[in-house]
Structure formats: structure tokens, C-alpha cells
Symmetry: C2
Subunit: 267 residues, 2 copies
């Protein structure tokens, strides 16, 4: 295992959340609580949350909702009995008027009585299914996070939320690309099947070596780049909608839930 | 509809077989009895049939067995109560010592007491499912048969049967290529998911404009060629194995069965 992959923090999602809550883990959640669903996070004031909910429902591939809090309530008991969304994510991003102003490890001091938390399915679940099937993932072998790109594929707008789709990219041999379509199709709640394969310039990606977020991953001459809708899409929409405050996860630093990946497979 | 597409002979598979048996239809079976499974045919003497059965079982993607006759019996009642394999295919190919020597519309005069007939699933079933889902197929729009290529992908040999895989090719937009993987994965008995996508030189296809069988189909700059294992693969194996006699269908001129396409879907 490369040095850059963090050692497994904990096989148990409750223990992992306790460690994060106590400030003992501030890194990415790759390899943490393997087999359990992790999620993307978006927190918005209630007067923005209704529009964002509609944005998610209109754009289920990038924004599959797996958890939604009551306004002002930091708990998401359906995802974890003890889960406190103010403390249980290793790294948060704070946006003010659409601008990323801070990355923090705890948002208790920022929490408001009108905040609504959205937890959206994340590709870690389908990556786990790919690895279980023997389909290799280069960015994981290298201990990197996945490269993400802003495409020219418009999302369906909802009120003030709009903008283009963000995608993640994984390179595969053609046979493994076919297998990856089959495997990820079983997981519609964590982005499901790819949105594109093979011809990135058609979706507005002119330079595969320059991701919008994350490090580049080599695509070899005998491979095809395969693209999935990404849960970072809301961050692009938030940058554009400019709510006075919004809080998200820092990419790769996810919400760890008690749901099992195998339990959310459609087939 | 282009002139070159034959008008629908019959919506009913029994009527279609009666018309073929009576010599009233000798063309391809595209558009005949839509919704019903059609099959590839290979007939071999009993002393070659056991090896060919093992070849099919070792190579289920090109050779999915949907019907197998008793030696000497030209009936396949599981595929159609009245089906007579000597008369019910519009065009047969006769191979002697591996060489194609004749194309005929009836093989009654050639039938022997030791002949075994194999019927193998055919891509018409999954093409029907693709069209039902709104995924266009250019060769059908043009009234052409599908282009087929001999690859460098070896089949698993069984006795005297061996050789490389024959594939069919259909061009798709990247989004439709992904949808085509999903849809055809539901039909493992008619070749199932593609075997290759996007980089034909990797499977030994250097000139996409020169198929091994069938007319070329344009692949546009914004499309990917997608390749499926093809039921013509046994004809390549027969050419190589050189049995004293073997009879197959003429590509596109298939065995029409009473099985519904929807009934053979795995999901």
C-alpha cells in the first residue's frame, strides 16, 4: 500500500464518527469503515433549502438524497443514531455569498436554528463494489482522490440553483469499462451508471490532465476515461447561487453512515 | 422506411415459419415476427456434435444455446411446436471440409440420421430491446445487416473447435453506449453485454470500414463503436475444424422461435 493511503481508521462507522468528533481524524474518509455508505454534505438556511431540495430532485444523478435533516436539527438518525452533522465530518467548507472562505473541522460555532443538512450519495459506495468485483481503480492504487471536472452538461435549474454538472473520472480497459457500467448501474442512490464514456471533449473537457478538483489520473492509450455524475456538483451550484452562507464537506472528507453499501444496491 | 427494409412478413412466428417452409420468404428475418426470439443455427454430425456442445458451453457469449435437437430429429419443440429445422430457415449455408460450398433454402435432401441441430441466441432480441428503449441502430435505419469482424480474441477451444471470436458492431453516442450496456446485460442468452467498446485496434480490428461479413456501418466522430460476441463465431470455428459436413444459417436469415424476447430477459 502506498504511504499516502491513510491506514484504516476504524472498521466500525460509529467508532469512526467518534474519532472524527473528538478531532482525532481530520483526513479523508477513504478506507474508513469499509462496506458502509458515505455521503456528500450540503447545509443551507431554510429559505434556500426548499429550492435546493427541488434541485436535488431534478438532478438525481449528481444529487441523490440519502439523508435530510429537520430545520435546526443537526441529527440525521436514519443515517446513524448518534450522528451529529456539526462535528462528525473531518473537514468542512464554509461558503459566504458563493465564495469559499474557510475550511474547518467543526461547525458547532456556525450552526443556526434554520440550517437544513442534505446528505447525498457518494461514489465511495460504488468504488467499493468495483474493487470487490476485481475492477482496479488507479486513483486508489496511487492513494489519490478522484479527479473531478466541470462539464458543459447543464443541470436542471431550480430557483436560484443551476449550473453545469461536475463529474468524476476513472480510467478503465474497455472490458472493465463495460463491467463498471454494469456494476454501478446497481447503485442509483450513489450516482448510478456513468454519464459519459470515451470522448471527453464532447462534454466540455478539453484537458483531461487538468481537473477542476483533485489530482490528475493517467489515462493510458489502451484505456477509456469513464465519467460519473459527482456529488461536488452542489458546490458548483452554491458558488453560482451565492447564498449568504452554505456549508459543505471538503471533497473526500465525507459523512460516514451506518448504512451498508450492499443494502442500497437496487439489484 | 428505406426501400431496402423488407416489409414485415408476419407478426406471428408460426405463420412466418409456414411462409418460409413454403418457399414464399427467402430473405432475411429482420422485422419478421417482432418480439419473438430468433436464433443462429449450426448443424453437425453426431461425432462432431459432442465437441461442439462443449465449445458452446465454454464460450457462452458467442454461443448461448437456446435449442438442441436429438440426433437425427429435425424438430425443436421447445422453440416451436411445428418447427422443422430442415425447411424453416430462409437461407442455409452448407460447409464441406470447412469450405462454404453452397447456399440453399431447404436442406431436406441433405438431412442425415446423425445430424444434431444447435440453435444459439441472436442479437435481434437485444436489438429489439434497444429500439424499444429509444436507442437508435444505424444499420437498421439503413435497412442493412450488422457489420461483423473477426477479432484476435481467442475462443476457449474444445476438441477440434477453436479459433477467434467474431463480433458484431453498432455505433452509439457515449450516453447511448452506456444505455446499451445496461439493456443488453439483461439478455445473457442472446450474447448479453458487449465484449468491447471504443478501441477496436486492441481486439485486432484495424479497419472498421472493412467488415469480415456484412456491410460497413459509419462510426461518426461523436460516436463509439460497441462490439458484441456474435453467433457467426461457430462458422469461423467450422471453417477451421473442417468437419466433412456442417450446415449453418446464412447470416441474417435466422431460426424464428415461439419464445418471446421479454421472456428470456434475466432481469
Amino acid at each position: 500500500m502506498p504511504d499516502s493511503i491513510q491506514p484504516t481508521l476504524s472498521a466500525d462507522p460509529r467508532e469512526a464518527r467518534r474519532a472524527i468528533r473528538a478531532g482525532r481524524h481530520t483526513g479523508t474518509t477513504a478506507n474508513v469503515a469499509p462496506g458502509y455508505v458515505q455521503g456528500n454534505l450540503a447545509i443551507l438556511p431554510a429559505d434556500w433549502a426548499a429550492e435546493f431540495l427541488r434541485f436535488c430532485q431534478l438532478n438525481p444523478k449528481p444529487c441523490p438524497i440519502i439523508g435530510l435533516s429537520e430545520p435546526g436539527d443537526p441529527r440525521l438518525p436514519n443515517l446513524g443514531a448518534d450522528l451529529d452533522i456539526r462535528t462528525d465530518v473531518p473537514s468542512y467548507r464554509v461558503f459566504r455569498d458563493g465564495a469559499l472562505i474557510q475550511e474547518v473541522t467543526d461547525i458547532t460555532h456556525l450552526w443556526r436554528g434554520d440550517f437544513v443538512a442534505f446528505v447525498l450519495g457518494c461514489s465511495f459506495s460504488f468504488e467499493s463494489a468495483l474493487l470487490d468485483a476485481g475492477v482496479p481503480l488507479r486513483h486508489i492504487e496511487r492513494g489519490d482522490s478522484v479527479p473531478m471536472y466541470l462539464t458543459n452538461i447543464p443541470t436542471a435549474p431550480a430557483g436560484r440553483f443551476a449550473g453545469d454538472l461536475v463529474v468524476s473520472m476513472r480510467p478503465f480497459s474497455p472490458a472493465n469499462a463495460i463491467r463498471a457500467v454494469q456494476i454501478t448501474s446497481r447503485f442509483p442512490n450513489v450516482h448510478g451508471a456513468p454519464v459519459h464514456i470515451g470522448l471527453p471533449h464532447l462534454i466540455g473537457i478539453d484537458d483531461i490532465d487538468t481537473p477542476w478538483e483533485g489530482p490528475a489520473t493517467e489515462v493510458r492509450a489502451d484505456e477509456l476515461p469513464v465519467f460519473w455524475a459527482c456529488g461536488v456538483t452542489p458546490q458548483a451550484a452554491i458558488r453560482r447561487a451565492k447564498p449568504p452562507i452554505a456549508i459543505t464537506h471538503n471533497p473526500g472528507h465525507m459523512v460516514i453512515t451506518d448504512l451498508r453499501n450492499a443494502a442500497i444496491a437496487a439489484l
